[in-house]
């Protein structure tokens, strides 16, 4: 299969928006080109659970009209992939689960609404691990999504559909949600910028909750600038979300840096990249040197409790999910499997509607919150969470930004991580930041050919700042991206084009 590429959809979001605003290109044209490309490649990639052809055309026409009326839209005509755990009114919103397979959202999530208002065009609802629980997209009950750089490999997860869509040019930008690494890891796996803002920066209203105290919406994009544009358009207080923060957002897109002079970057001693293999070790060491080359001062910092991140996360997140997912009971919406009485209906519905990983987490979480175990598990996990956050505070007393790996390997083959715990460890480097609520992103930092792999796969560098440090975070990532240009080294879908 050879995929003829359309130059209009290879553009970045920033370029598309500038062209549409200048009326060099219409939103309708970009949308049609994108839909045609989706038609051509999505059978192979499987990014989308629902392609919103009609809605996309309608939105695009409205964007063109708004442009003609003199509005200046930061995301004018930009094709958007929305992870299917975010509500978009009148469209199917499944969470990658059988229990919501046919559920039509009655309202639109705040983050999505803000992007549409800024001119983005929703191309489709993207696949994800069921209820965002997973790191490979393999837990989706509805579809298989493939990595556009090697279709025998996973795109990462849980925002794998959005990542694959953006990587394969099925959208210019994607919305993901990150609970323990679900934007950053697929970003790293798919050669993208995957950005999780500070907890509370982007409204969660309309994001179907996995773990409420950790979930945060963020962009997947092909450039840092695109990620910044998306962030600027959707960040900020929302009266519909009591955990969203009432604090002015400093726009990041206009504050991107060209160098890192005067920036102190912490390298985490506890994260020994030697354990990731010689190839990745060399890539990360090179990345740190490149940061230094840009003018940064490297300092060694330590996160001694980071090791407790995974066990802590796997108590808190399941505890919250066990409660958040109770509402899927067959009574008001979604799947219903009838039974003798209401109790049997609950049991039958949930047994048929939830997949094995979701059930596992509901069970773990129910156990962790049970009388007699609550103090030993949930309360201790909360204390560990506080200690992890304090580790970061201490580290940030010595540096402005932390650099470390975004994932412990490159995209793996399907079914390679069949043991749940090995899958949980995929998020070893991203979970501590989630527990501390910190803004963090992954940015492409090179390519590594996995053992037995046919082609090199992208590797991601993770950057992280103190709370509300988005401006520096995106600014620094841009300087690094601009100086290294790792992302453009390989094209997606090349394997198929070659074949």
């Amino acid at each position: 299969m050879s995929v003829p590429m359309d130059a209009r959809i290879e553009k970045t979001a920033s370029e598309i928006a500038a062209d549409v605003r200048a009326r060099r290109l219409s939103a309708v044209e970009v949308t049609e080109a994108t839909l045609a490309h989706v038609e051509a490649v999505d059978g192979l990639i499987g990014s989308y659970l629902t392609v919103l052809s009609d809605a996309a055309r309608e939105h695009a026409a409205r964007v063109d009209e708004r442009i003609r009326n003199g509005e200046s839209l930061s995301l004018a005509g930009v094709p958007l992939a929305v992870k299917d755990n975010m509500c978009l009114e009148s469209t199917r919103t499944t969470c990658g689960s059988k229990i919501l397979e046919h559920w039509i959202a009655p309202y639109t999530a705040t983050a999505v609404a803000r992007l549409l208002d800024a001119g983005a065009v929703p191309i489709g609802k993207a696949n994800c691990d069921e209820f965002a629980m997973g790191s490979s997209c393999e837990n989706s009950a509805l579809e298989v999504t493939r990595n556009p750089y090697d279709t025998s490999r996973v795109p990462g997860g849980s925002s794998g559909g959005s990542a694959a869509a953006v990587a394969a040019y099925e959208a210019a930008i994607g919305l993901g949600s990150d609970t323990g690494g679900s934007i950053r890891e697929p970003g790293a796996f798919c050669n993208l910028v995957g950005f999780k803002p500070t907890y509370g920066r982007v409204s969660r209203y309309g994001l179907i909750a996995f773990a409420s105290s950790l979930d945060q919406i963020g962009p997947l994009a092909r450039t840092v600038e695109d990620a910044a544009l998306v962030y600027d358009a959707m960040a900020g207080y929302d009266p519909m979300d009591a955990t969203s923060i009432e604090r002015a957002v400093e726009p990041a897109a206009g504050a991107l840096l060209d160098d890192l002079k005067g920036v102190r970057i912490g390298i985490v001693r506890d994260f020994d990249t030697g354990a990731l293999g010689a190839d990745l070790d060399a890539l990360y060491r090179q990345a740190y040197r490149d940061l230094e080359q840009l003018g940064a001062e490297l300092v060694e910092v330590t996160l001694p409790t980071a090791d407790y991140g995974v066990p802590t996360y796997y108590l808190i997140a399941p505890a919250e999910c066990s409660s958040n997912l109770a509402r899927f009971d067959g009574v008001r919406y979604g799947l219903r499997v009838d039974g003798e009485d209401v109790r049997a209906m609950y049991d039958n519905t949930r047994a048929a509607g939830f997949g094995p990983e979701v059930k596992r987490r509901i069970l773990i979480g129910t156990y962790a919150l049970s009388s007699g175990y609550y103090d030993a598990y949930y309360v201790r996990a909360q204390k560990a969470r506080t200690l992890i956050a304090r580790d970061f505070e201490r580290a940030f007393a010595r540096c402005d930004l932390i650099a470390c790996p975004a994932a412990s390997c490159t995209a793996f083959e399907f079914a390679a991580k069949s043991d749940p715990y090995s899958m949980y460890l995929m998020d070893y480097y991203t979970i501590p930041m989630s527990l501390a609520g910190l803004p963090a992103l992954s940015v492409p930092c090179g390519w590594s050919r996995p053992e037995g792999g046919a082609v090199p796969m992208p590797v991601g560098l993770q950057l992280c700042t103190p709370l509300f440090g988005e401006r520096l975070l995106l600014g620094a990532a841009h300087a690094y991206e601009r100086a290294t240009r790792h992302a453009s080294a390989r094209k997606p879908l090349a394997q198929e084009a070659r074949a």
Binding site: C87, Y107, Y205, I208, E320, A326, V331, V342, S371
Partner: protein
């Protein structure tokens, strides 16, 4: 109740708060309406919807706590109470577990005989109400045997106050008096409509019995399904009786939830402790902890009205009114406010109460016009009381004047002045009238002297009539008696 046993009762009340909107969304908080018309994604627990707390509801709880002398902690939070129920949209209820909005306090109440008591409170917390299930096909509306259930979520998410008392009540009468007082307080604060029939007040009773004098608590049962104060009283009485019977016949009270059967007048077992839920409470991660500012608490404290028990104490202890009169004035808001104003102007609570609860209440009943809305200004009534006190008019004149004032006659002093209705206390004016009457009713006078002293009233009445009601009745009385005994 056998004298060997005493009952120990604690009351748990759920009170729907009178807010414009629901607890965590903008839907209207109003009773009734077409099913499922006051709903939105938030109160329906739609995927992705989030709760945002209603600040006014929090203020109402703090206000209630302040009125009841509770302490208001600096920090509070919402927790999730997890259990599955079809009319609970999220399958968890947002409630408060270990950090309620108010702690302690007490409800002061009084019994019919005027005895005042108090029952301490454990806590008051804020939570959300559930929807309503209607079970169809079972004939009696119960879930057992029903074919299907209809769900109405209009009530889902309505702010609900839970007020838990200590087990300090000792009889069904005390329980009712406690509830009455709590209800009056919430009404005075404007916190709730507290209508049991509309479900804006619901209560459960924890009942146990023990040998009188014992300090240990017996095993308790929780009584539910009581839908009027009367049924609360009956249910508690019946449950006390049942428990004593169990114990005296050598049995053991089982800790369980029991439902009140209004028709048969008994409680029956609903579920035992062994089947009790593990609610897996944990802090709601969708809601941030509440910091209660002292400034807000102080501001709310200044808005507190005179509370029913304070008024009861004033009416009975300071004003010397009876418990019944006092209760009447407390329970009829407009009458009470009017009364307070009359006392303020007249300085005579007893006379004020006589006129307000007597003549004015009667006129109000007859005309359907509330006393407060009538043409009798409190100042004018106070003026009338002043005329009576100063013996310027007698009670007959006063009664006639109230009637005329009700019909818009205005200032009683002016009428008395204009029409010369002032009471005559001059013996020189009255004595000739007494002589005339005695002369005209010689037979009656003879009767009196023969020992039929009860004819005296007739003679006094004749003198009053002759004076056109203006004579001072006490003086007439004295003069008639004096002349008859000659």
């Amino acid at each position: 109740m056998s004298p060997a046993y005493e009952a120990v009762i604690g009351i748990e009340c759920h009170v729907e708060l009178k807010t414009a909107t629901k607890m965590f969304c903008g839907c209207p908080n109003a009773f009734g309406g077409e099913p499922n018309t006051k709903i939105c994604p938030v109160c329906l627990g739609m995927p992705g919807a989030l709760p945002v707390p209603n600040a006014y509801a929090i203020e109402l709880i703090v206000t209630t706590g302040l009125a009841l002398g509770a302490s208001i902690p600096d920090f509070s939070k919402f927790d999730r109470k997890n259990y599955f129920y079809p009319d609970m949209p999220k399958d968890y209820q947002i409630s408060q577990y270990d950090m309620p909005l108010t702690v302690g306090g007490a409800v002061k109440y009084w019994l019919e005989d005027g005895t005042t008591k108090e029952c301490r409170l454990t806590r008051i917390h804020l939570e959300e109400d559930t929807g309503k299930s209607t079970h169809a096909g079972s004939g009696d509306g119960r879930i057992a045997g029903s074919e299907y259930s209809l769900l109405d979520f209009n009530r889902a998410g309505v702010p609900l106050m839970e007020c838990v008392s200590e087990p300090e009540l000792r009889s069904p009468q005390e329980a009712i008096a406690y509830l009455e007082s709590l209800r009056r307080t919430l009404l005075a604060l404007g916190v709730s409509d507290v209508k049991m029939e509309e479900g804006s007040l619901r209560c459960d009773a924890n009942v146990s019995v023990r040998l009188a004098g014992s300090t240990e608590l017996g095993t308790k049962t929780e009584i539910k399904n009581m839908n009027s104060f009367r049924s609360v009283e009956r249910a508690i009485a019946s449950e006390i009786e049942r428990q004593i019977e169990v114990l005296t016949s050598g049995g053991r009270v089982v800790q369980e939830t029991r439902g009140w059967d209004e028709v048969n007048g008994v409680t029956h077992s609903m579920r035992s402790k062994e089947e009790a839920h593990d609610y897996r409470y944990f802090p709601d991660p969708d809601l941030v902890p509440l910091e209660i500012s002292r400034i807000d608490v102080d501001r709310l404290r200044t808005t507190l009205p005179a509370l029913p028990w304070q008024r009861f104490e004033r009416y009975t202890a300071a004003y010397g009114l009876g418990a019944k009169q006092a209760t009447q004035l407390i329970d009829n808001r407009s009458l009470g406010t009017y009364f307070d104003r009359v006392v303020e102007c007249s300085g005579n609570p007893q006379q004020s109460s006589n006129f307000v609860l007597g003549d004015l209440a009667r006129l109000a009943n007859e005309s359907g016009v509330a006393v407060g809305d009538s043409q009798v200004l409190p100042e004018h009534l106070a003026e009338l009381i002043g005329l009576v006190e100063g013996k310027r008019i007698n009670s007959t004149t006063a009664k006639a004047l109230v009637e005329r004032m009700w019909n818009g006659a205005g200032s009683p002093a002016a009428i008395v002045e204009r029409e010369g209705l002032a009471q005559t206390s001059d013996p020189a004016t009255i004595e000739p009238l007494v002589d005339e009457v005695l002369a005209a009713h010689a037979a009656v006078v003879a009767d009196y002297r023969a020992g039929k002293t009860n004819v005296m009233g007739f003679l006094v009445g004749q003198v009053m009539k002759a004076s056109r009601g203006k004579a001072n009745p006490a003086l007439v009385n004295d003069l008639v008696r004096e002349k008859l005994s000659r």
